[in-house]
C-alpha cells in the first residue's frame, strides 16, 4: 500500500514501489480551444472497445453523453450560458482571479441590438483525473486498481471482483460498475499505448490540441503559460483546475484549463481524496483495538483472582 495518502507527492510512481520508472505522464485539457467535436469520446471507445452507453436524447444542449461512467471514459460537457447580463457564473465561492459578472466579454455570443441576449457555449472534455492520491486505488481490496510506472491509475478487469468500493471512493464520480457486467471500468490513460511510446487515443484524435498528452511537469508549465496568455487577452474567467499539488488530491495527473467555475462544468470545486484520513482512522482503530485487548486481558486477569 502507498505510504502517502495526502498532500504533495513528487514521485508518485516511486511512492508506489516503481524503481527506475519513466516520468509521470498525464493530460492537460485546454477547454479554451475545445470545439466539442467529441472525437476524443469516439477514439477512446474505438481503441478501448468500450460499449455504447445509451441512445436517448438528454436535452442538455449537445451533451447526450451526460457523465463519465463505466462505459464512457471521455465526456464532452456542453454548457450554454446567457451572456450580456452576467457573463459568468458567480457562485460566491473562492476562485482564482477577480469575481465575475463585470463587463460582457467581447467575442462570440456578444449581445446585439437585434436579438435577445447573447450566448456562450462552454465545452470541456472530462476524463479520469489520475489523482496523485487515488482513493479508488487505496480502497481496492483485490489489487485490480494499481499505480503504473507512469504514475497513472489503471483498473485491471481480469482481477476486479466487482466489490464496488472504488465507486464511492472517487471524489470526482469517475469510476463506475458496468451494469450487466458487474466490474469497474474507467480511463486507463491508454496504458497499452503509452507503454509503446504512443499517444493516448483521445489526445491523438483531438484536432485542435485541446487534449494534450505528455510529461506532467512539462504540461503544468505549458498550462501556466497558456493561462497567462489568456489572462493577457482579457479572458478573465480562465483558471487551471487540478494543476495544484497542494490541493485535496495532491494534484491531478489529468488537469484542465477552464473558463468558468468548476461547478459550471459539473466538476467538484474542492475535491479531497476520500482516504485522506485513512492513516489516522487506522491509528484510532488500532488504539481502540489495543484498548479492547487491554480490557479483555484485564477481564481474564480479573477472573483469575
Amino acid at each position: 500500500m502507498s505510504s502517502s495518502l495526502s498532500g504533495p507527492l513528487h514521485d508518485v510512481a516511486g511512492d508506489a514501489g516503481h524503481e527506475d520508472h519513466p516520468p509521470r505522464m498525464g493530460f492537460f485539457t485546454d477547454t479554451s480551444v475545445c470545439i466539442g467535436c467529441k472525437a476524443c469520446e469516439v477514439a477512446c471507445k474505438e481503441w478501448n472497445l468500450v460499449p455504447e452507453d445509451g441512445l436517448s436524447l438528454s436535452g442538455m444542449s449537445y451533451d447526450n453523453t451526460q457523465a463519465l461512467g463505466a462505459s464512457t471514459w471521455r465526456h464532452v460537457a456542453f454548457v450554454e450560458q446567457p451572456t450580456g447580463r452576467a457573463s459568468r457564473t458567480d457562485l460566491g465561492m473562492p476562485g482564482i482571479g477577480p469575481p465575475g459578472g463585470a463587463e460582457p466579454p467581447a467575442g462570440p455570443g456578444q449581445e446585439t441590438d437585434s436579438g435577445e441576449g447573447g450566448v456562450r457555449w462552454l465545452m470541456s472534455s472530462d476524463v479520469c483525473k489520475h489523482c496523485t492520491h487515488a482513493a479508488c486505488l487505496d480502497v481496492c481490496p483485490t489489487g485490480s486498481l494499481f499505480r503504473t510506472e507512469f504514475g497513472t491509475v489503471v483498473v485491471q478487469e481480469d482481477i476486479c471482483n466487482g466489490c464496488g468500493y472504488c465507486v464511492p471512493a472517487c471524489p470526482y464520480g469517475v469510476i463506475d460498475i458496468r451494469p450487466g457486467d458487474g466490474r469497474a471500468f474507467k480511463c486507463t490513460l491508454c496504458y497499452d499505448r503509452i507503454g509503446e511510446g504512443m499517444t493516448p487515443a483521445c489526445a491523438q484524435a483531438c484536432p485542435t490540441e485541446s487534449i494534450q498528452y505528455g510529461e506532467l511537469d512539462e504540461l503544468r508549465e505549458r498550462a501556466g503559460r497558456r493561462l497567462g496568455e489568456l489572462q493577457e487577452q482579457g479572458v478573465d474567467g480562465a483558471r487551471l483546475y487540478g494543476a495544484d499539488p497542494d490541493d485535496g488530491v495532491g494534484g491531478d495527473g489529468a488537469f484542465f484549463l477552464l473558463l468558468d467555475e468548476p461547478e459550471v462544468y459539473g466538476l467538484p470545486p474542492d475535491p479531497v481524496v476520500t482516504t485522506r484520513d485513512l492513516g489516522s482512522m487506522w491509528r484510532h482503530v488500532g488504539a481502540a483495538a489495543l484498548g479492547l485487548v487491554g480490557v479483555g486481558v484485564a477481564s481474564f486477569i480479573g477472573r483469575r483472582r
Binding site: S32, V33, I35, G36, C37, K38, A39, E41, V42, K45, E46, P51, E52, D53, G54, L55, S56, L57, G59, S61, Y62, N64, T65, E80, P82, G107, P108, G109, Q110, T112, D113, S114, G115, E116, G117, G118, V119, W121, M123, P207, T208, E209
Partner: protein, 856 residues
Amino acid sequence: MAECHPVGFQWVMEAKRKGATIIHVDPRFTRTSVVADLHVPLRAGTDIAFLGGLVHHVLENDLDFREYVVHYTNAAAIVGEDFRDTEDLDGLFSGYDPEKQQYDPTSWQYENAPQSPAAGERDPGQPAGPAASQEPEEHESARSEQTGSGGPTVQAKPERDETLQHPRCVFQILKRHFARYTPQLVAEVCGVPEEDFLRVAKALTENSGRERTSAFCYAVGWTHHSTGVQIIRTASILQTLLGNIGRPGGGILALRGHASIQGSTDIPTLFNILPGYIPMPHAAQHRSLEEFVAEDAGSTGFWGNMDAYTVSLLKAWWGDSATADNEFRFDYLPRLTGHHGTYDTVVNQIEGRSPGYLVVGENPAVGSANGKMQRLGLANLEWLVVRDLTMIETATFWKDGPEIESGELRTEDIGTEVFFLPAASHVEKKGSFTNTQRMLQWRHQAVQPPGDARSDLQFYFELGRRIRAKLAGSTDEMDRPLLDLTWDYPTEGPLDEPDAEAVLREINGWDDSGDALSSYTQLATDGSTACGCWIYCGVYADETNQAARRTPHWEQSLVAPEWGWVWPANRRILYNRASADPDGKPWSERKKYVWWDAEQEKWVGEDVPDFVADRAPDHVPEEGATGPDALGGRDPFIMQTDGKAWLYVPTGLADGPLPTFYEPVESPVRNAAHRPQRNPALEDVAEPANPINPTESRVFPYVFTSYRLTEHHTAGGMSRTLPYLSELQPEMFVEVSPRLAEERGLEHAGWATIVTSRSAIEARVMVTARMRSLRLGEQWVEHVGLPYHWGANGLVTGDSVNDLVGIALDPNVHIQDKVGTCDIRPGRRPRGPALLDLVEDYRRRSGAHPAEEDDA
C-alpha cells in the same frame, strides 16, 4: 467549419494561435462560433446582401488594393453601351425575357467585342427547366460548366481605362451597382446591426493589402441557394478587390462535403463535364472534334490548349483505336441532348422517362431535397441498383418509406426491382482522395472488405468486363465505343482487385513510348500523348505515385511540396503570379511567395510558379497571339482568356454579370433591395409534389434552414448505423429560440411538428439561445434549425428534413435552396393518411401550389 469540418478546422485554430482574427457569419451559433472572435448571425439566404455590403464598404471608402485591382482584374475593362444594370432597370439586367425567365447575355459584353461566333455556338439555345426536357434538342446544359475551366471566351484584350474613371469601365459599374448595399440595407435585409457589420468590414479591410491577407471558407451554406453561384461571385469580387487571390493566406476555400468530392468533380460524376472540366459535347453543336475544340483553340490563355487535353483524353480511353483519321474516336463520346442533372433525372423518373438508376455512395431518399419526389421517382423505375456500406433508406423505400406509411404508395404496386450491392469502405480499398485544396493523398488498403463487399473500382471494372463479354463479336456500330475501350487494368490480391495505381497512371498519362508524362504542357494534339485527366498530369511523374508522398512538414519548406500532390503541376496556390507586384517583386517581405528573378530570368519562390516560367513581367504579347503565348507579363489569371480576374462577368452566367440580392424562393419578407422578389432567371420545377410556399405567407411564417451536426455524416448511412456516433446525437431534433418557443408553445425536450407545403415531420424540441431572433425593422424573423441526418433505418431513426424542402433551382448549376418557410407547432405529427390531410390543409390555407408547367 468546426461543426462540419473539425479536422480541417485545426488549421483555423493554428492561425488563431498565431494571431488571426476569426469571424463567423452564420444564422446558427455553432461550434465554430464558440472559438471565433466574432459571431455574426444573419438571416439565412441573405448572403449576397451581406457580402454586397462589404463590397460597397470597400468601394465607398477606397479600401481596395488599387494597384492589384488596376493591373490584375478587369476593373479597367470597358463594357459596351448596350449594357443596363439592375440600377437602371429596377432590379433586372438588360437582355431579360420575362416569358422564358431567361437572360440573353449579348448586351453584357465588353465594348467592341465581336459577336463571338464561338460564344454564340456555345450558347445557341436557352437554359431550360426540367419540365421542358421533352424537347431536349432545343435546350442547353448548364452554361457555366459548359464553358470548361477556362471560363467562357471573350475578346482577348478589351478596351481598358487604367484610370478607372470611364463611366462604363467595370470599376465604375461596380461602384454604381453596389451603391445601394449600405450598412442600413444590410441591417434591414440580414438583420445584422450596423455596428456588427462595420466590425466585420473593419477587420476584413485592415487585414488585407500588401502586408496582410484574409481568407474566406465556405460550404453548402453558400452554395445551396437559388442564387448560390452569385453568392460565391460576390465573395470573389470582394477578395479580388482586396487583393486576396493568388497570395499566401488569401483565397476562397470551398469546404467540400465528403472526403473526395473535389476528386469527383475533377474526374467528374457530373453530367455536363468530362475529366479536367472539359465540357461534355452537345449532340446538335459538336458533330466533329474540330467543331468541339474550335471554340477554345483560338482563345488566349492556357485553356487555348484544350484541343491537346481533349485528344489526350480520347487516346487514354480508346488507345490504339483512336487515330487522327477517325478524330481520335470523338464520335464515341456520349452527347448531351438537354439537362441531365439530378433533379431532371428525378422528374424524368416520376414521369416515366427514366427506367434505371444506379445509386452509389449517396442516399437520395434522405439526403436530396424534396424526399417525396425522390421516392416517387424511385418507385417508378424498372430497376434500381444501390451500392452502399449499409442498408440505406434509398434501398428500402418500397417497404418502409414515408409514403408507405401515409398510404400514398403500396408495396405491392411498386414495380421497381431493387438490387443492393455491399460496397467496400475507404479502409478496405486503395486509391486517392482529392481534398478542397486540390491535394491528392494516397490511401492504402488496411483490410480486405468483408463478405461480398467490393470496391467501386472493382464493380465498374467487372461491369465493363461483363458488358463487353456480352457484346463480343457484335457488328453493331453502336457497340464499338464499349468494345474499343482500353479496359485492361492489371488485377491483384485475393479478390482480383484492379490495381488502383494503374488507373492513376492512366489518369496521369504517357507519351508515345509509354513513359509517364510529368506535366500537362507536354500534351499534344497529334495523338502522341494519352492522359485521362489533364489537370492531374504529373501525379505519376517519374513513374512514381506522387500522391503517396508523406514527407513530414518539419523536413521541408513551409509550403511542404512533398506532402501528397496538388493539381495542377503540384502548385499549392493557384494564380500565384499575383503574389508579386506588376514588376514581379513581392508585394511585401511578409507576404513574399513567388517573384521574378531578373538574373535567372525566371519566376522563382516558395511554390511552383503559376505562370509561363520565363515570361518577364514587362512582356507584351504579339498582336494576334493565341494560347499561352497571348499572356502578358502582368496577366496572372492564366486560365482566363484575358489573363485578368473578373469582377464583372461579360458572358458565362445565366443570371447576370454581377451579383444582385434576391430573396430565397420561399421567404417571409419582401425583397428590400430590389423589386424582383426571387432570382428572375430561376428554374422552376413543375411537379405536383413540389408546391412552393407563397412569399410573406402567414401560414408559413418562419424560416427553416437545414444543416449538419459534427456527430453525423450527411444522410446518416455512415453514422446512424454506428453505435459510437449514434449515441452522441441519438434523436432528430429541431432548434428554436426561446422567443419562438414561447410564441408557439414549444416545450424543451418535448415534440414539435414542422410543416411545409411538401410535407410535415416531427422532432424533439431544443430551445436554445444559440438560435437568435433577428429583428428586421419592426419585424422579427425566427429560424427553425433542422439537422438533416435522420431517416427510417439504422440504430437511431427519425423523420427526414429533406421531406420539407422544395426544389427551385439556380440557373447556372441547378442547385436548390436549403432554406425555405415553414410552420412549427407543438406535438407529434399525425400518422397515416392524416398526415396528408394536415399538409393539404396547410396548402389550401396558404395557397401554395406547384409552378406552372410552362413556367420554365
